[in-house]
């Protein structure tokens, strides 16, 4: 039986063999691998790209103090982006399951409609949730739009839920019982983090401070987006740091939400504010990339 990390190694090797850059996790808090610049910004232009990376994804509201066997404040996704999507992408995906030891002839696999949409990112796509013996193990999406922009090359996004997959492969009732290595369990590595962040997110995060931080990052992002318009040498303009500000805002929004600090009425408005930043950055980024191509040509 493979350990958690062996499963991850195998998936990474599998996609490395298929031409993917194996990236490391992005170092700013995100709610999903999709939000990393390696996905969100990379898919925007018309340059082919292939990348795979593990992304710890923070969802403050899903925290359960480490007491629920299947819900986590922070879970890990293995995110794969193939741009453009190859014609045999689903066959490649199924083969990746075989590669981590799932004998498909002994299991039941179904592709059930599940279209993805992120109002905060101005993004949507069409796809499925992949069900293995009744367990959702993967989100598969053909991106159509990101940051409000119609994509030139349609990427396939494959998002494996690593804890679920590992619990399945190791036949564990609780994610905390997953063997990370022969010596250490998932609980050994992560339980304290789940507990402490649940306490912070639900009970102790200072709402006033979070709002202040949100507004500071929002302001910085808006300032940069404004500056981009007038900046003489656009190629060297720091849009990647600008995008970090968007991610900060998004995470702070999630924290405020988990803390119960955003009423349903306010919610739509705050989502709109983050969306404005995300869409603004995406469009500036696309502009910067296209200008660079134009100069090269």
């Amino acid at each position: 039986m493979d350990t958690y990390q062996q499963t991850i190694f195998k998936l990474k090797s599998y996609w490395a063999e298929r031409g993917c850059v194996i990236q490391e996790p992005y170092d700013v808090e995100v709610g999903a691998g999709t939000m990393c610049p390696e996905t969100f910004l990379r898919v925007l232009d018309a340059k082919p790209y292939r990348v795979a990376y593990v992304q710890p994804s923070r969802r403050p509201a899903d925290g359960r103090y480490g007491e629920n066997p299947n819900r986590l404040y922070k879970h890990s996704q293995l995110q794969v982006i193939l741009k453009p999507s190859p014609d045999d992408i689903l066959e490649q995906y199924l083969a990746s399951l075989e590669a981590i030891g799932i004998d498909l002839s002994k299991h039941d696999i179904k592709f059930e409609e599940d279209n993805w949409e992120s109002p905060t990112l101005g993004a949507w796509g069409i796809g499925w949730q992949v069900m293995l013996d009744g367990l959702e193990i993967t989100q598969f999406t053909y991106f159509q739009q990101c940051g409000g922009v119609d994509l030139e090359l349609v990427p396939a996004e494959i998002t494996y839920g690593l804890e679920r997959l590992a619990a399945f492969l190791q036949n564990r009732e609780s994610v905390y019982d997953i063997r990370w290595t022969p010596e250490f369990s998932y609980a050994d590595v992560r339980l304290a983090e789940e507990r402490q962040f649940s306490v912070y997110n639900f009970e102790m995060a200072d709402i006033g401070t979070l709002w202040q931080l949100f507004e500071l990052h929002e302001k910085e992002c808006s300032r940069l987006l404004e500056a981009y318009k007038k900046y003489p040498d656009r190629q060297r303009f720091p849009l990647l740091p600008t995008y970090d500000q968007v991610l900060k805002c998004s995470n702070l929004f999630n924290l405020l939400d988990a803390r119960g600090a955003i009423s349903v009425t306010e919610r739509v408005g705050v989502i709109g504010r983050v969306r404005k930043l995300a869409v603004g950055t995406a469009q500036a980024w696309l502009h910067q990339q296209t200008a660079a191509n134009g100069e090269a040509a």
Binding site: D87, K106, D108, F111, L135, Q144, S263
Partner: protein, 657 residues
Amino acid sequence: MPGLPFLLEVGSEEIPDWMIGPALEHLSAEVNKLLAPLGGRVSRAEATPRRLAIFGADVMPRQADSEEIVSGPPKAAPAGAVQGFARKMGVAVEALEVVATAKGEYYSVRRQVTGAAAGEMLAAALPGVITGIPWPKTMYWNMADRRKSPRFIRPIRWLVALLGDEVVPFEIAGVRAGDVTRGHRVMGRAAVAVTIGDYEERLRENGVVLAAADRERRIVAGIGGTRVKKDAALLHTLTHITEFPATITGEFDRAYLALPEEVLVTVMRHHQKYFAVENEDGSLAPAFVAVMNTAGDPEGLVRHGNERVLRARFNDARFFWEVDQKRPLGDRVEDLRNVTFQAKLGSYYAKTERNVALVRELGGDENAQRAALLAKTDLTCEMVKEFTELQGQVGGRYAAAQGEPEAVWRAIYDQYRPASMEDAMPATVEGELVSLADRVDTLRGCFGIGLIPTGSKDPFALRRAAQGVVRILVEGSVDLGMEALTGGDDALREFFLDRVRYYFRDVRGYPYDEVNAVLGAGWSNLKDVGHRLAALHAVRAGENFEPLAVSFKRIKNMLKQAGVSEGGVIEEGLLEAGPEAELHGAYVRVKGRLSASYTDSLGEIATLRPAVDLFFDKVRVDTKDEAVRRNRLTLLFVLLTEFSAIADFSEIVTQQQ
């Protein structure tokens, strides 16, 4: 000569189950239109999640030859123009003939047109037909130029198109039509050469049951003697998300049966697509039937996996239940201040206050008011955040667990009933009142701020809300007038009238003219409308009824022409002996016999017919004696009004018109 068979298979990645039926129907109809000029027709249409297959029969190899007449210059044209036309058409001037048309006479050429080859015609038309399938949501996929990319529900990965033994050559998005299909993703080969004759058999060998009916039969047979909760929608879904369905039965720990049945069933049915299993007495058994997309589960791995997932889901539900019980519903009313109902209509707290007041106004007792007060609090519970479709039911179960009286918790439980025309009604009068008040408040509020449904736009589902109100008023036990509900809002009144019509016509099946006739006599109480309609419908078949309706219409027109809009006293002294006096006598007699029974009363009214007929036959209303004329009109007016309280007979459409 018998025609050729035809086969089209559009191979795609997994199509959402609910879209397959309409898409297949559309494709089949369009292909039928293509085959018709070739003498052919669609003989069968089948689909799996990955393929839409159309079979055709009797297709002629080419279209029949035909004759075409090309018109040239008019007969009066100068010789040069005529010669020019003949040259252009490649014939001698002498070969031209003059053909008379509606517009005049023209030099013309008759030409034989060779019919196009069927394969060419189909190859030219099929790409447009296939990409023209209207899907609810489409995508483009990887193409050099996305602006030229076709849109489809999911990427098209292969195409089979055969006319007899020949491939119909065309291409969509880089995929060429051929004679190679694909088998089941796991059980079949990736490339399977087929002919029209062996197509279905080859698919079967490769793990694909082509016909939905066969797949459904496999599922039903798999369920066999196991008592599952009947669920036609789920069966349909499972039939259309599998290419080779097979069932497995799994079990779960009895301890979970302590959770509300609704939660367990929702997890199984909606989240996991399992059939829930029942005991003999209809109670839930700790078992389920799942449908796989593969032949079997020899090692029990699929069963084990599904049981494990269900356990995790049930554990979640138990966690929510326990967390939610820490704060009783009564404590959560205040929390509703933070839950928005609608931006301009305020929070659910404000709505709750209005609902409670309305329940009181409609005569609801303390229990009904208590239920209205607690009704929306489950929106703040974790269970409802997870299982939104169970709002109301969760609140009801919680209220019961927290010791609220049955009249209260049932009303909370039933607050969204009836959700449709088929759905169950609230079980109690308290439930009816809470349901009514909630909907009426929503309707009044939305109409008040101009959110009135137009055409297909009805984001707040106001039609459904109003439909529920109508159904409760007619079928429920509360007896309330419309006025109490619509307030003075005319637009809302009109909106309700539409729903009332829809209910009696489309749901209850009454002919539209009967509905109009009864509504024309008033609809302030819908139960009463229901009774009057039933009576009218019962007597309509009688021989006197329709002729009388014709006469009533005549009376109505006559009164309108004469400008009579109010009654008066009939002066018996002015009545002419004979038909006029007899009509009056009949009027007095029938009036005396009207009773509380609408059917009896309508039967009595129908007996007026001979007297009315005779009157119109023998008596002229327009007479020179003004007093007599006026008296006659008064008689007719009184007759019409007295006997139109059950139904306005002039609305009845009769064959004599």
